[in-house]
Symmetry: C5
C-alpha cells in the first residue's frame, strides 16, 4: 500500500514510460503517412467516439471490480484484526490470565497461522503482474516484498515447536491445518474441564471465523478478474488506441489553416493523440495494478504489516515486554 | 475458469468468427447498394449514436449482472470450502480424533454431497449456451467437462455404502437428502451421548450452512438472467448492428474526396462498420458467456476442482496417506 | 418466470404493438405538417440528445431498481427453500424420525404457510400492471396464474385440520398466525420434554427466519418502486418521445437531396423516429414488467413452483410415496 | 408513501409550478436581450453539454443515494415488523399463552416503543423539506401527518401505566428507555423462573434487534445526505440552468430561417429551454423529496401505518377482539 | 458534519477561491497568446470532450467511493450507539440494577473506550487534507476539533481509576486494551457467579462487537482511498483543465463575429473556461473532502457528539442526575 499523499508525477511517468513510447509510436505512423500524402487515411471521429464510450465503459467496469477486490481484501484482513483481538481476550480470560502457558502457546500458534497465510497469499500466480517490467522497475527502486526475503519455515519456527513445525510443513494447506490444531487443543481443554461448553462455543466460533477469513482471502487470490472480461477490455482498448490517431488527423491538419503552421500542424497529432490514448491506457493499467491485492505490488493490502500489528496487540494483552516494532512505510510503501 | 493471462487474440478471433462473418455481411449490403447508386440509403449518425448509448447501457447492465452472478457463484463455493473445513475439524475433535470411523464416514458422505451437487449444477438448462457452435468448438479443442465423462452413481459409489447409495439415487434432490442423512447421524450421536448438545448445535448449524450454500447455487442455476431483460438486449443490439453500416456510409464516401481513393473509399465502410458492431456484439457475448456460471463453459466456476480441494484438505486433517492430486488447468482451463 | 431462451420477436412485437402504433402516430404528425410546408417545426437535435441522456439515466436507474427487486424476491424465496430444508431435517431428527405424527403435522402446517403466503403475495395492488392490455393479452394466450384458479381455503384444507383451518381463516395475516401456531406447538413439545432446550432454540430460530422471509416478501409486495421516481420517468420519457420526431425532421429531409427521393425522404422520419422512441419506451416497459415480482406476470418469481419443490423435498425426507409432480413451464412460462 | 399508480400530470405541474415560472423567467432574459440586438450573447453548446453531463452525473448520484436511503428506511421498518412478530409469538409461548397478563403488558409496552419511535422520527430537522412551499401546498390539499394531530404523551397513555408513562416522559430518548424496561422485566421473569435461560437469550436478542433497528432509523434521520455533496449539486445545477437558454439562442434563431417565422423563431427558446432545464431541475427535486424518508412528506416510509399493522398482528396473536382498523391511503397517500 | 441546509454560496466561493484564481490564470494564458496572434493554438473540442468523459468517470468513481467511505463510517458509529445501548441494559439487568457499583464502573470504562477511540481516530495521517489552506481557513472561522483542545489522558481520567489509567496509557492500542479489561471483568463476574454462562455469552458477544466496530473504523482511518486511483484522478483532471481553455478558443472567437464584440469575444473564454474547469475541479474537491471521514473536517462523522449521546443514554439508564448536555452544532458544524 502506498501510504503517502500520491504517486509523484515523476513516478507515474517512469511507471508508464514504456507505454508512452508505444503511444507515441502508434501516433507517429498515420501522421507520417498522412504527411507523405496518404490523405485518405483519416478516419471519422464519430465512430471512434462511440468505441471510446464502449472502452470507457469496459475500463470503468474493470476499475470498479478492481477497487472492490482490493477493498474486500482489506476488509477481510480488517476482520482478521478484529477477530484476533476478540479471540485473544476471550481465550486469555477463559483460561485464567496473562501468565498461562496454554494461552501463550495458542497465541503463538495464531501468529504462525498469520505467517503461513501471508506466505501462501504472496505466492505468484500466472495472471498476476509482478513480472511486468514497469512493476519490476518500481519495486527494485522503492521496496521489497518481505515474504521473498526469508522462508516460511524460518518464520514459522519463531512461533511453533519443532514437532508441530515439521507436521505443518508436511501439510498441503498449512494455514488450514494450523487452525485445525487450535481446534484440537480447544477440544482437549474442554474435555479436561479447563474451559466450559459456553467458552468452547465462543472460542470454536472464533476459529471458524479465521477459517472463513482465510478462505475469503484465498478466493480473491485464486479467482482472477475473469479472463474473458479482462481480454475483451484489452482488445477493445487496443482497437481504440489504433483508431484515435487516424481519427484526429484531419482536425490537426485543419488547425494550422491560415496560420504560419499551415501544413505542419499535423505533427501536433502525435503528442495529443498519444496524450489521449495514454490517459485511457493508464486508467486501465491503474485498475490492473489493484486487481490482485495479494501479489506483492505497491498497491497491495499490507498483510505483513497487519500481521505484525495483530502480534503486537495480542502480546500487549499478555503484558509482554519486548514487543516487536510496528512495520512502517519505506519510500511511502508498506507491505 | 480460464487460469492464464488472457484468451489469445487467435482464440478470441476463432471464438467470434461466425459473428464476424455476419457483421461483414451486414455491412456489405448497404455499401454495395450505395455503390450501385442508391445514395439515399444513408442514415443520420446522431440517432444511431443515441441508440448506441441505449445499447451500451443495456449491454453494460447485462455484463454487470453477469459478472455479479459469476462472482456470487464463486463466493458460494468459497464459502463451501470454508464451512467444510470448519465442519471437518469441529466434527473430528468432537468425536475424538483422526482414527474415528464415524468421522471418516461423515467426511466421505460430505464428499458425496459435493459430488451430487456438482453433477446437479452441471446439468444443462434451456437458456444456457453450451450448445452454441462457438462454445462447442472451443470446448472440443481445449477442455472437457468432468461431469460428462462419468456418471453420478459411479462417482458417488466412491464415497457411500451400497445401501445408502441406492437410497440416495432414489431421491429427487440427492444433495439435499445426503445432508438430511448427516443430520440423522448427528442426532443419533447426540442421543448416544457421543457429542453433547453444544457440539450438536455447532455441527447442526454447519449442516444448515451447507443446505444454504447448495440452495444459493441452485438459485443461480435455476433462475436465469431475466428473459425480458435478455431479449430486449438482443433486439436493441440487433437494431444497432443494422443501423451502423447505413449511418457511416456518407462519412466513408466523403473520406476519399480529393484523394486517389475518390469513389472507392466507400468500401472502407465494410471493415470499419464491422469492427464497431463486432466490438459491441462481442462485449455482449462476453457477458453472456459468464451469466450461467455452472453450465460447463470455459468461464465457469471450477466446482470440480474446488470439490477436490475440499476432499484433499479434509483427508489431510485425518493424516490420510494417498491424497488425490489437485486438479490443474489444461490449456489454461480448469473446471 | 420465462424459462426459455428468449421472448420471440413475434411475442415481443405483439406485446408492444399498441405502443408501436402510438409511436408511429406521434411521428406522423410533425412529418405530415412539415410535408405540408410548416418547415419551421424542426427542433434542434442537441437539446433532444441531452434530454435523451437524462431519459437514459432515469430509465436505466429504474431498470436497475427493477432488476434488484426481482432478484431480491428470488433470493428471498431461495432462502425459504434452504431454511425449509434445514428446519425439516432438524425437526424430523429431533422428534425421532420419519414416522412421527407430530413431524408430519408440522410439515403440513409449513406447506399451509407456503400456501397462505403465495396467495397473499399474488393479490393485486393498485400500482401493478396485470390489468394492462398488453399483459392481459400475453397472459390469456400463454399461461394462467395458479392462485386465481382456486381459492386459498380449498388449498389450505389440504394441509390443515378443520378446526385449525377455521381459526386461521378468521385471522388478518394468515401466514403470520400459522407460524405462531408452529411456535406454540414447539413450546408444547419443549414443555413435554420431547425436544430439549437446544433443539427448541434451533427450531424456534427456524420459525423466526420464516417470519423474516415472509416480511421481506411482503415489503417488496407492499412498497412499490417510489411513485415520484416512477412518475418523473414516465413524464421525461413522454417529453423525449414527443421531441424526437421533430428533432429528426431536418436530417431526413436533407437525406434525399440529390437523389430521386428528394422531397420524399422526409417520410422516412416516421419509421425511424418510431424505431428510436420504441427502443427507449420498450426499455422502460421491460423494466416495469419486472418491478413487481409477485403480480402474476410472465416475469414473476415462480413462487407456486418453488412452494411445490419445497413440499416435494420435505415429503421426500419422510420417504413418503406419491410425491406430487414438480410444476413445469407451459409455453416457457412457469409461475 | 404514494400508494396509487402515479402522481397525476396536474399534481406534478402544481408541485413544480414555482420552479416552472423561474425557468421561464430565466429563459426569457437572454431571449429578450438577443431579440433586442445583443447577438453576441449566444454561448456555445458543447461546453454546456459537458456541464450537462457533469450535472447528470451529480443529480443521478444524488437520486441514487436518495433512493437507497428511502429503501433502507423501508427495510428497517420491514425488519421491525418481522422481529416484532417473532418476538411476540416467542414471548407468548414462553410465558404460557394468550391470557397472560405479563404477555399483554409487554406487548403493549412494545406498542409504546413503536409510538415513541415514530414521534421521534417525525420531528423536524433543519435540512428537511417540509416547509418548502411546494410541499406545504401539496400536503394541505392531500394529507395530514398523524404525529402532528396529537401528542406523544396522549398516544403513549394508551399503552403504558401512569407511573411508567411519567418515568418515560422524563427521559432523553424515550424509545431507548422503553426497551430498557422490557429488558428489566425479562431479567425479572428469568430470575423468577418464569422463563428459562434459553428463552431469555432468544427474547433478549429480540430486544437487542429492536434497539438496532431504532438506531438505524435514527441514523438516517440524523445524518442528512452530506451537505457538501448536496451543495455542489445545487450550484452545478444552477450554472447549467443559467447557461442553457444562452446556449440554445443561436439554434432557435436559425430555426425560422427561410420560413415565415424568420426573426421570430427565437421566442421558441423560452418554452423549450425552460422544458429542458425543468426536466433536470425536477429530476433533482424528485430525488430531494425522498432523501429524508422520515420527514412527513408524501414519499415517506409509512411508519404510522406500519406501527398499526404490527399492533394488529400482535393483538391478533392474543385472539383479542376489537382490533383497530388498518390505516388506509387517503388521496393515495398513506403515512 | 454540516447540520444546516447547505454550504452558502459565499462559503463555497471562499473555500474554492485559490482554485478559482488558478483556473482563471490557466484560462488567461492561451487566451492572451491567441489574442496576440498565435491562432494555431486552438485545440479541437472532440478529443477534449472524450477526455472530459474519462475525467467525469474517474471523478464520479472517486466521489462514489468517498460517499461510501463516509456513509460506512457513519454506519459504524451508528452501530456503536445501538450496541452500547443493548450492552448497557443487558449488563445492568444481569447485575441487578441501577445502583450496582460494578455496572457503573463498567459503564464508565465503556465511556473511556469511546474516548480513547475518538482520540485515536482523530490523529492526523499523511494523506488527509486538514492542513490544506482551504480547510484550515474554513476551520479557523467556523469550528474547532474537540480532540485538539484537550488531551486524551485528561479526558480518560474522568472515567477510569488512577491505576487503570496509567496501565492503559502504557499500552499501544488503548481502546483495544480497554475492551480487554472489560472482558477480564466479565470473566471474573462469571467465575464469582454474579452472572451465569448465558449472560456471560451475551455480554462477551457485546464486547466482541465493540472490537469489531473499532476495527472497522480503524480500517477506514488507516486505509486511504488507494493512491494509484487517487493519483490518476489528479493527473487526468489536470490534463483536462489544461486542455479546456485551448479547446474553447475558436468557439469564443467566432462568437463575436458580426457583432460589435468582434475580435474581443475571445476574452469571454477566460470566465467561461474557468467556470467549466472550476465545476469539474470542485466536484473532485468535494469528493476529496469526505474521503477521510475521521480527519476533523467539516464533513466528518460527528464522533465526539455521538460519544456524548451514548454517555447520556447510558447514564440515563441508571437514572443518574446531572447528565451532561448534548453537543450541538456551532455555525452549523458539529464534530
Amino acid at each position: 500500500m502506498h501510504a503517502g499523499r500520491r504517486f509523484t508525477p515523476v513516478e507515474f511517468m517512469k511507471w508508464t514510460i514504456r507505454d508512452t513510447y508505444w503511444m507515441l509510436f502508434l501516433a507517429t505512423i498515420p501522421t507520417l503517412l498522412y504527411f507523405l500524402g496518404l490523405k485518405f487515411l483519416t478516419f471519422p471521429w464519430q465512430p471512434t467516439a462511440i468505441v471510446g464510450t464502449a472502452v470507457a465503459f469496459i475500463v470503468g467496469f474493470k476499475n470498479n471490480a478492481s477497487y472492490n477486490r482490493l477493498w474486500e481484501a482489506r476488509q477481510i484482513y480488517g476482520t482478521i484484526i478484529n477477530d484476533s483481538r476478540s479471540f485473544a481476550y476471550t481465550l486469555r480470560d477463559a483460561l485464567g490470565g496473562k501468565q498461562s502457558i496454554v494461552v501463550k502457546r495458542m497465541f503463538y500458534r495464531h501468529f504462525g497461522w498469520l505467517t503461513a497465510l501471508r506466505f501462501q497469499l504472496r505466492e505468484p500466480r500466472v495472471w498476476e503482474n509482478m513480472s511486468d517490467k514497469r512493476n519490476e522497475n518500481f519495486r527494485s527502486s522503492h521496496y521489497e516484498i518481505p515474504e521473498t526475503l526469508t522462508r516460511v519455515d524460518i518464520e514459522l519456527a519463531k512461533y511453533l515447536g519443532q514437532e508441530e513445525l515439521s507436521y505443518i510443513l508436511s501439510k498441503k494447506n498449512r494455514a488450514t491445518q494450523l487452525t485445525a490444531i487450535q481446534s484440537e487443543e480447544l477440544a482437549a481443554l474442554r474435555k479436561d474441564g479447563l474451559i466450559n461448553d459456553f467458552q468452547w462455543t465462543q472460542l470454536q466460533q472464533g476459529l471458524m471465523k479465521f477459517t472463513d477469513h482465510q478462505g475469503k482471502a484465498e478466493r480473491i487470490k485464486n479467482f482472477p478478474y475473469p479472463r474473458n472480461f479482462s481480454s475483451i477490455a484489452t482488445y477493445l482498448l487496443f482497437i481504440f488506441i489504433i483508431l484515435v490517431p487516424f481519427a484526429l488527423l484531419r482536425e490537426f491538419d485543419r488547425l494550422g489553416d491560415g496560420t504560419f503552421l499551415q501544413g505542419y500542424s499535423i505533427w501536433l497529432n502525435i503528442p495529443f493523440s498519444a496524450a489521449i490514448t495514454w490517459a485511457f491506457h493508464t486508467l486501465d493499467t491503474v485498475g490492473e495494478s489493484s486487481v490482485n491485492p495479494f501479489e506483492g505490488s505497491a498497491n497491495d493490502v499490507p498483510i505483513t504489516q497487519i500481521s505484525r500489528t495483530i502480534e503486537i496487540d495480542m502480546r500487549d494483552m499478555l503484558d509482554e515486554a519486548n514487543l516487536p516494532p510496528a512495520i512502517v512505510p519505506k519510500n511511502n510503501i508498506v507491505l
